[in-house]
Subunit: 119 residues, 2 copies
């Protein structure tokens, strides 16, 4: 059930290569990937779990409301991350020329479905 949501996100967002439903412990519940050279999406997910833990800690210190979304853009990829609840988050990795706006919209929309599926 998780995978079909992740697949919808990847297939509908232009230029997406993978999406993962992850725990903050770095362990993926489920993921959907398209073949893509030069990136290990499993590794991406694990590493970004560490980043997200750091962001969450920072947001708590700053008291600026709950962490909702993190976007990291590098030379080759854009990674979008959305917090789902205290334990889980979802990532979406886009090629650099992917449709960022649409990806962001889809991830926000499907987060509600993922949250329901997790409950």
């Amino acid at each position: 059930m998780f995978r079909s949501i992740l697949r919808d996100i990847v297939e509908q967002a232009g230029g997406a290569i993978g999406s993962a439903l992850m725990g903050y412990d770095g362990i993926a519940i489920d993921q959907y990937e398209k073949p893509c050279e030069g990136i290990d999406l499993q590794l991406v997910a694990v590493e970004y779990a560490n980043v997200l833990k750091e962001v969450r800690k920072t947001v708590e210190i700053l008291e600026t409301g709950e962490m909702e979304e993190v976007v990291i853009r590098t030379g080759r990829f854009t990674v979008l991350i959305r917090a789902l609840n205290d334990d889980y988050f979802v990532t979406l990795t886009l090629k650099r020329d992917g449709n960022f706006g649409k990806a962001r919209y889809l991830l926000a929309r499907e987060s509600a479905r993922l949250r329901e599926a997790l409950a």
Copy 2:
């Protein structure tokens, strides 16, 4: 000279409350702020320097190209961060209802000016 660029960014982006030119050591070179309740922009900058160091480390491990941009959206604010070079980055803090697209565009455009001014 830095401050006038930071002021341009804040005044032109709809809903921005502050911008800072920062070192990865958490020390600000310069900043421009509008009065805003409930947020300590100095503290935001220092804390996000730690986040950015973590992101940079992750991006190096993943070999997905240079880190360019990080966006963190919380319940009350959106913080945009752009890497300028190995030592410095610039942050822009927006109210939640601020114009994200315009802020992102301005920060990208003015990063070139900041990079020149730093050289």
